[in-house]
Symmetry: C2
Subunit: 506 residues, 2 copies
């Protein structure tokens, strides 16, 4: 569908260019120049959107804001997000983007939906919360009705309730806990995270640290509800969540199986929809670490197939997660990943691919392999510009790239976001959606910060209200929802959009 949409546009560009070329060495005609500039703008994401009067008025407001923003010497998209966040918060463009109905978040991970402060202030303040310090400078949590057994390479367990009772001021402790649950820091991020190795190490440690909080049944439910709340508050109406679907434990140490985890996600989603009727819902993309053995991966895919059968409406599909550069490439798991096809069963794939700068290595083939395995979308696709054949295929097949600007910057793939490959992709209306990956890890929340980076950083002065509208629509168009569901979701979104435009166009 997406490819079809772009054909007339490409044809128009060709015609205009041919007209130009045929004039040979003539002096540039200002009208032709103007037409070519407009033509190029019309090629960008949302360049074909026909704006209503109100949208045009809002666009003028946005354009003026953007002009001001681009003249700042401290231009936020050129800076590390940790330094830029406070500047972005005060930007009038950002305020508008927060209010804007952004559609769906299609690339978000289960363990980093909710800001770290909530975890500290809410989760760790519950009774029976034990914490220990690991030898490798991290922490672990465990909720237990009695003191748990000491873990290897860890200090004895400390009951946080008792520890806090002894302290006059718990701020330092709470801040120190929080520092273990997020990458965000007020210190200079380049100094704290000098390399990809260091930042990935801290990233993985933060997930390990919050594991004992997240997998405790009462926290698990509330965390997910709070996660939906944060996205809903940020005017996101639908989510597709990469979920590792762990076993969830209770205070007495007993465990729930994976189906329970899915069911709980489904129940909490239903409850949230009930509490917020204008929220459309969520689906789960079961995700497993890419460092499994081939036989383990076969098991995992079988498990995924079973879940897909048992929860055909709530499960969206399957993905592999973890650092690509040090992980196993997709092709390594070709037998396991061929299982659904071999069995004639359906398991939609949503593969991370191309989150790398290691051009030409085995890992760098993930992009091609993701498409060969018929992935529904590409997670990140940072390396896509260096793969012209894959890029062409993703475009004509409408396989959208889930672009996560802040994540790619914090994880040190790119420094100045104006150089992010999605700037080029958006300039030619390549199918993309904007997402936030792990907002709590990066000190962001919802989608607005990433929309800001995309709109101001990737789009420069040229991206306009049409771009924003198309990005929001893309998030529904490229979701895993059925055509009927998409129709519903579009209708719901359109209502919100019209309200947003009428309230903000002066």
């Amino acid at each position: 569908m997406a490819a079809g949409l772009q054909r007339p546009q490409a044809a128009a560009a060709c015609l205009l260019l041919l007209r130009y070329l045929s004039c040979g060495l003539c002096i540039p005609d200002p009208k032709l120049r103007e037409a070519l500039i407009k033509q190029e703008i019309s090629m960008q994401t949302g360049g074909q959107v026909v704006l209503t009067d109100a949208e045009q008025r809002l666009d003028s407001v946005l354009f003026k804001m953007k002009q001001k923003e681009m003249m700042r010497p401290d231009f936020p998209p050129a800076m590390h997000f940790f330094k830029a966040r406070e500047l972005i918060k005060t930007s009038p463009i950002f305020s508008l983007l927060q209010k804007m109905p952004k559609g769906a978040a299609l690339h978000v991970h289960d363990l980093s939906m909710v800001n770290a402060e909530w975890l500290v202030k809410n989760a760790t303040y519950r009774p029976h919360c034990y914490m220990c310090y690991t030898d490798s400078n991290s922490i672990r949590f465990n909720f237990s009705s009695q003191a748990p057994e000491k873990q290897l390479n860890c200090s004895p367990w400390i009951l946080l309730e008792s520890l806090r009772a002894k302290l006059i001021n718990t701020t330092d402790l709470d801040n120190s806990i929080m520092g273990n649950l997020t990458l965000f820091t007020n210190q200079d991020p380049e100094t704290v995270y000098p390399s990809q190795e260091v930042v990935w190490d801290k990233f993985e440690k933060a997930f390990q640290a919050m594991w004992g909080l997240f997998t405790y049944a009462p926290v698990f439910r509330d965390y997910y509800y709070q996660g939906l709340t944060e996205f809903y508050t940020d005017n996101v109406m639908y989510l597709e969540l990469r979920a590792v679907l762990p076993e969830i434990y209770e205070l007495d140490g007993s465990c729930h199986c994976v189906a329970w985890t899915v069911k709980t996600y489904q129940e909490v989603t239903r409850q949230f929809k009930k509490d917020h009727p204008d929220f459309y819902g969520a689906r789960i993309i079961f995700s497993h670490n890419r460092n499994a053995s081939p036989s383990k991966m076969t098991e995992i895919v079988q498990k995924a197939l079973k879940l897909q059968q048992d929860f055909p409406i709530f499960m969206a599909g399957f993905d592999l997660v973890g650092r690509e550069d040090t992980g196993r490439p997709l092709w390594y798991f070709r037998d396991a990943l061929s299982l659904p096809g071999d069995k004639g069963m359906t398991l939609p794939f949503f593969f991370h691919a191309g989150e790398t700068n290691l051009e030409g290595t085995d890992v760098d083939q993930n992009l091609l392999d993701a498409l060969l395995f018929n992935t529904s979308r590409i997670g990140h696709g940072f390396a896509l510009l260096r793969h012209p054949l894959v890029k062409y295929k993703s475009r004509i097949e409408g396989v959208a790239v889930e672009v996560c600007p802040i994540s790619n910057q914090v994880m040190k793939l790119v420094k100045d976001l104006r150089n992010h490959p999605a700037a080029a992709l958006m300039s030619e209306n390549h199918p993309v959606v904007i997402s936030s990956d792990d907002p709590s890890m990066f000190g962001s929340s919802g989608l607005s910060y990433d929309f800001y980076e995309a709109f101001v950083g990737f789009g420069g002065l040229r991206a306009n209200i049409g771009t924003l509208k198309e990005l929001a629509k893309n998030s529904i168009r490229y979701s895993s929802l059925t055509p009927k569901q998409q129709k519903e979701a579009f209708a719901l979104w359109q209502k919100k959009w019209d309200k947003f435009v009428s309230e903000n166009a002066f």
Copy 2:
């Protein structure tokens, strides 16, 4: 011609892809996958080059070197060149690239061909060399038979000969002078140059500082001869030099006109060719600062037309130079730039365009305007990926992009060179040539450092000996030489290439 070359390649890619697409949801066939990988590699710069046996052997050597290089935690293209230079110097790939006949340098500026040390050790050690310190923390030079008049905003003139005679050790003085003539520093470049404003300020000051040295007739001749020597030693056989063509002065204060400057360039080039018969030569692209008034620009274009008439063989054409972001856009000078066309005269343009991250601004239209004014090549073209229509036009018309990796990094357009847009351009064999812009300013020399960044940084593991061969050939193909001259130059280059391959393929 370039567009024609690429057509069969594009057709082959399409066919292969259609074959793939027609198989629908089938399990990936390893042979088809292999074919697609090969197909994508064949789309890159040099991907269609058929290698001789010896070239294939050299390629194997290079591939092994590259594998090692890419496993380094301190991967040079990901680092600032000032920090990476020492690492590159010890790289076996770099040694090979130094020996490789690289063809032509098509984007080099007259005032930064020669390493700053030569200026200090040679130029400033000549008799009658006066220096003063400016109020804005820079220096000025003046050769004069008697003490020149004091300049505004400058200390009294100091005769360097006398000053040095008084010093026990001149190292500190010489180093301090050198620091004024180059951006290169051993300190942390991010700290010394925190922003584009700071680095451009220092850049412009360095040109002002060396002006009095460069424009002194005896130094001028020797500087250019030394510049040719440095490129020749780096196995570059032909240059197209952006030259501001200043008036040149003598010791008695008398001045030569611009025609003399061109003639001197021509004479020195002839002398150099006589001394080095395997050097092909040089041509001049007259360049003027883009901050002129429209009427001044009209004068300048008329001057350029006159020079082009008077030196039709030695003059290649015309360009505007200086920082694009703060300078006037090409369209501002549309009347002046239309003069040659209006008069039915020939003045080939070689415009700098797209050396910017300010997407959507007036300056960002330079890329389109350069092409509308029928530029022969694009200088830098850093913003090209964000201009799909311009990119398409530059490709089908074979308007090559002069890519200067180290320059773009030092001038803070991009940090990690793997994210340089030319990586994408080279992956699809967009017409590009590699050049070094202002090697002396960046502490590099000749072309080898920039070839290293392009080959290792842009190309990753996939760029191979075919890529290098094609880049060298591109530099002749996209030069301003006539078809007959190109034939000669190719023959000369091929002889050097065959020797290089036979001496290094084991």
